[in-house]
Symmetry: C3
Subunit: 200 residues, 3 copies
């Protein structure tokens, strides 16, 4: 397992944790928590795999995936959550995960003969549609679609830059690093300056 | 690109526009509008492709698809909507789209070894499940499932007739034209006469 | 058609009936009832097929599937439901269906090179995600994820035992029978004793 895979699994773990936390606010039981955690962590990649035709989808047969989601759910269930502090901590890890997932989604798409434009679309889907799926399952208004902080937009910007760097022949890990840095920076900037997309 | 493809893309454009309009009523931002527009326009065909095993799904790598949805969304966002008049205009274009999508869904299904009965089912799914998906994402009660105007039923009738004409050896474009005419007529008739399916 | 297939179709019929009943409580029309009945009966198997890469999904081209769902929906629509008595009757048939679907999902997964752990996951998905999908379409809070009677947990227990028996070389039909018995027993026991999973 190389460095990138390790960081990806860290991202999965963080996403699963935020999913489990959401399940807690909805007073679900442990099983419901597992489903929401799994949906948050792997939902985006699953939707991407279904759309581009990778089958079975990526996490099937990967016990580490199951183990990470189960551990994250159990940890969150023991957690005496001081939600506000927790949210501040999770903001950074989530932003890092966003960048990683976008880049990973783009790589996988390109390897499956998806063109550049749609590879960015698939990168954004990988990073953001897990949360969307979790919101639908929790019967919440999907956060992703509401007006608010830049989220999917940030992934799209990071993704476009990642693809450009790739065409410029920049080394893959460096490209990934730059993509993550850009995503994290814009996330922070847009939160601080309250930058939002206009309402449709 | 032949005439049928041109009309199909017009249908996609109209469906994307109605999706973007729905997003407006939910006060989403531009990104949310794009997602709902895309779901409305391509959701039905995507679900059909997943069920019958076409992969990648039809719109992947098609920049025109993306372009049409983006343009429709942008146009709707500039639109100072007088919704009632707009709805009247859209009723006809939507009905034409329904007929086109049903026939197209049936053709694609038959080309993928789906039998006649399920080809009609797939035609109805192609025409109507995009709106269903958009409703779920907007957390609306799916219009398609509620008692009201004939909608899916009209597609099913048009689809059955399209298949019958096909077996009678009627030329494809003529069959498509008849299917669309029937769908539009029954849509208008059922709206005027307030014909509904019985409640279950 | 062998005994197992017959019992499976009985399970499908029962699940479709519960779906149609749910549609009634939401005042849908006949078409909405059909969609919810189909989603309840075949939704879990469809999601499993999509995830493990079986295509087209299992029910496509199977007229018996369509016939069973349509009959169940029509019967429910004529039914003058005394819901409480109905619920008691359906509890047992539903529990039997749960066991059958879990075992069938596991068999299909193993035949598609899914490992034991994920085969159990797919068994649980087969048995329970149809109801989840129906809940999402009806805009209900998914029953499966809420704290309440053991449901998915029971399938997981039955599934693990089914896999263990399989590895011990127990004959398939006997394994299936034991799996169903265990699922039914724990369902009854957990309902009587009000056993629940802890909240996350």
């Amino acid at each position: 397992m190389n460095l990138i895979q390790i960081i990806m699994y860290v991202g999965i773990f963080v996403f699963a944790g935020t999913g489990a936390l959401k399940a807690r606010t909805h007073h679900m039981d442990i099983f419901g928590g597992l489903v929401i955690a799994f949906a948050t962590a792997y939902g985006g990649g699953t939707i991407r795999d279904l759309l581009i035709g990778v089958h079975p989808v990526n996490w099937v047969n990967d016990y580490l995936a199951l183990g990470l989601v189960v551990s994250a759910t159990i940890i969150v269930s023991f957690f005496d959550s001081d939600q506000i502090r927790f949210k501040r901590t999770i903001f950074f890890t989530d932003a890092i995960g966003l960048g990683m997932f976008t880049a990973a989604g783009i790589e996988i798409s390109i390897n499956n003969n998806i063109n550049d434009g749609y590879a960015v679309v698939m990168g954004v889907i990988t990073a953001t549609f897990g949360g969307l799926l979790a919101d639908v399952l929790c019967r919440e208004k999907p956060n992703l679609l509401k007006r608010g902080e830049l989220y999917a937009t940030v992934c799209a910007i990071g993704g476009v830059i990642y693809i450009l760097l790739k065409h410029l022949g920049i080394e893959k890990n460096l490209g990934l690093f730059i993509c993550v840095c850009i995503v994290v920076s814009i996330r922070i900037l847009s939160k601080r300056k309250r930058i939002m997309l206009p309402e449709i």
